[in-house]
């Protein structure tokens, strides 16, 4: 068990530090790279909790797809061209006060934290014990039954994201040549070809 504890603290420390670098780094590419590191460590914590399916999902979807896409986008931006405005000093006071107040509250909560009696029994589904079924199966069992409603609404959220992205970026420019398959296929030789007899020395008008 002690190894698991040590691993947890290693993962958690790296996770927190890299999260801080993500928002603090001056170079956006560094931010994305540290975001990937943060995802990996979060996946490590999920493995320690026995949720290996969520861990793999995090690595495959977030690291493999989302973060890499971010990286592409960030690399394509011309970062040097964007003039940096250092807001840190300007908002330092307000940020420190609000942050300190929140931190104090959380410390208070942490010091007196207890769960209600019977909170464990309130949970609809107990955490995976890693014995009977795999976590992917356990997730599948509840995702399409008890959690059908949030699952379907999440689907609609993705639909909104897709429609929104298209609405805000798609431009129908006029004056550009578009491929018209129908016109291409139905074109006849007689429409596009003709034989013109050119008399010598006169040229031809098209």
């Amino acid at each position: 068990m002690i190894i698991a504890d040590i691993l947890f603290y290693v993962f958690a420390t790296i996770l927190l530090l890299s999260a801080m670098v993500v928002i603090g780094a001056r170079n956006a590419v560094h931010s994305v790279l540290f975001l990937i590191l943060a995802f990996f460590n979060a996946a490590g914590i999920f493995v320690l909790l026995g949720a290996e399916y969520v861990a793999m999902l995090l690595v495959i979807v977030y690291v493999g797809a989302v973060a890499v896409l971010f990286l592409f986008v960030v690399m394509m931006l011309d970062i040097a061209a964007v003039k940096r405005v250092d807001l840190r000093r300007k908002h330092l006071m307000a940020g420190t006060v609000v942050g300190a107040a929140l931190l104090a509250e959380l410390v208070l909560v942490f010091k007196s934290w207890t769960s209600a009696e019977g909170a464990r029994d309130n949970a609809l589904f107990q955490a995976m014990d890693g014995q009977s079924i795999g976590s992917a199966q356990a997730l599948g069992n509840i995702l399409y039954t008890n959690y059908l409603y949030p699952f379907q609404v999440s689907g609609l959220i993705l639909l909104v994201a897709m429609i929104g992205a298209i609405t805000l970026t798609l431009r129908l420019r006029s004056g550009i040549r578009r491929q018209n398959n129908n016109a291409q296929v139905t074109r006849r030789p007689s429409e596009s070809m003709g034989i013109i007899h050119v008399e010598s020395g006169k040229g031809v008008e098209l």
Partner: protein, 478 residues
């Protein structure tokens, strides 16, 4: 499978199917037919409400007790549906005049409506969160719908960042409540909290964070920073939607929260609501005085009105919810008419909604001037109009809950806010028309909505029984 199990959510399911049909058919339709989808969306909203009302059989739950259909949910769905319907109606002339109608616009409003319906029907924090995100994401897109306009893009971006922040705060609060009670279900949380005499500080912080997150969504001060910029930058019909539907949905969520999961800790909830209410009323009264842009003015005015609604909710219980619903319905009616006028007056001056453009409206278009004046007097809460009775309903609930000092403050703030409403009336009636004032050529639909809402203002004054019956029916929770 027993399909009757899904019956409580029939409005949402119908709207989801309607939205999917619009996606598919809209993508293949000609851009010139885009206005037709506005009417389709309006019909879909009306039909979904008819279905919901006709299939309503008392309190029913669905989706493993994550979804509830009761009087409160149904009443708020009617209000949200009316708000979305009116916003769509206001948009039709706006987009056809600019030749900028797109089928995505009514589609996104439909999807936002599903989210808002889900919010008021949520019986579980997970269901609340996903519905809230569905609504918010749709609204972010709508705010920046004029993507080439700098102000509109800024509005969308600002709304998105602050909305994401508020969702984070809300989730943190939910996680603390979940940590304490072991459940995200409203019923289980209520039972667990009721079973423990001493309230754990973690629960209180969780409660504060959840209410702060919802406060962002209703633009209650001190979480209102986004509202003036977003109201100003978003296309005007979208601003009208923001003022009507999402406000009602978030008020519905607060009604649900204080009557179910937070009922055992109402004392603590009340303190937060009182604080939000006072600050909102103050900001709504004082910050609007210096405003010269009408859309920003409407933003501050809506913050003030939210303050009054929160005052009613702070009173708690059935009376408080009753007052909040009464006020919200009247607020939706007043907003619809006001935004119809604003749309007509600024049809030619979009992006620069100076109050000066209202000057001489009494001569340029007497019908608009008269209806808008009636609505402004109603918003100010001046006696012969129904806005006065809305405030009376709210104040009565607060007095019954021994919050008399809060009522005194509310009356004072409402006197201050009367100043800028009256100033607008003065500009319309006593200022000479500004130079090269164009002749107003408003769409008939705008005139109709403005006059209808002004007439409703008077009709509800003479015959308020249906509205008060609606409010008291909706606030019956058992």
């Amino acid at each position: 499978m027993n399909l009757a199990l899904f019956l409580p959510a029939i409005a949402e399911i119908f709207l989801a199917f309607a939205a999917l049909v619009v996606v598919i058919l809209g993508a293949f339709s000609k851009p010139s037919t885009a206005t037709g989808w506005f009417y389709v969306a309006m019909l879909a909203i009306v039909f979904s409400l008819i279905l919901a009302v006709r299939k309503y059989t008392g309190i029913t739950m669905a989706f493993d007790r994550m979804f509830i259909q009761d009087n409160l949910a149904l009443a708020f769905k009617c209000m949200i549906g009316a708000g979305a319907f009116l916003a769509l109606a206001l948009s039709i002339p706006y987009f056809t005049r600019r030749n900028a109608a797109k089928f995505e616009y009514p589609l996104i409003i439909l999807l936002a409506t599903i989210g808002m319906f889900g919010m008021v029907s949520a019986q579980d924090f997970l269901g609340l969160y996903v519905s809230l995100e569905l609504q918010s994401l749709s609204l972010y897109v709508l705010a920046s719908f004029h993507r080439d306009d700098r102000l509109s893009a800024e509005a969308g971006l600002k709304y998105f960042f602050l909305g994401a922040l508020s969702s984070g705060i809300l989730l943190y609060g939910i996680s603390l409540l979940y940590g304490y009670t072991g459940s995200t279900s409203y019923i289980t949380i209520a039972n667990t909290l009721a079973a423990h005499e001493v309230v754990n500080p973690g629960v209180i912080i969780g409660l504060v964070l959840v209410l702060c997150g919802i406060g962002f969504k209703v633009a209650a001060a001190p979480f209102h920073m986004w509202a003036p910029d977003v109201y100003q930058g978003a296309p005007t019909p979208v601003t009208a939607l923001f003022a009507m539907a999402p406000k009602a949905a978030a008020i519905g969520v607060i009604c649900r929260l204080i009557s179910s999961p937070f009922a055992p800790v109402f004392e603590q909830t009340q303190q937060i609501l009182v604080a939000l209410s006072i600050i909102s009323m103050a900001v709504g009264a004082f910050a609007a005085i210096a405003q010269r842009n009408v859309k920003r003015l409407m933003a501050y005015s809506s913050i003030g009105h939210i303050g009054f609604i929160l005052l009613s909710l702070a009173a708690g219980g059935q009376a408080g919810i009753n007052g909040a619903i009464f006020y919200s319905v009247i607020y939706i009616i007043m907003s619809a008419g006001s935004f119809a006028t604003i749309l007509a007056v600024y049809d030619a001056h979009e992006g620069d909604e100076q109050t000066a453009y209202f000057s001489g409206l009494a001569k340029r278009h007497p019908v608009f001037a008269a209806s808008f004046a009636a609505l402004l007097l109603s918003m100010a809460g001046i006696p012969p109009f129904v806005g006065f009775f809305a405030k009376v309903a709210v104040f009565t609930a607060a007095v019954q809950a021994n919050l008399t000092w809060l009522v005194v403050l509310g009356v004072l703030f409402s006197v201050v806010s009367a100043f800028y409403y009256l100033r607008l009336i003065k500009i319309m009636y006593f200022d000479a028309p500004f130079e090269d004032a164009a002749v107003l050529t408003p769409s008939r639909l705008w005139v109709f909505i403005a006059v209808l809402s002004a007439l409703l203002n008077l009709a509800l004054l003479i015959y308020p029984a249906p509205l008060s019956q609606f409010a008291s029916w909706a606030s019956q929770l058992q």
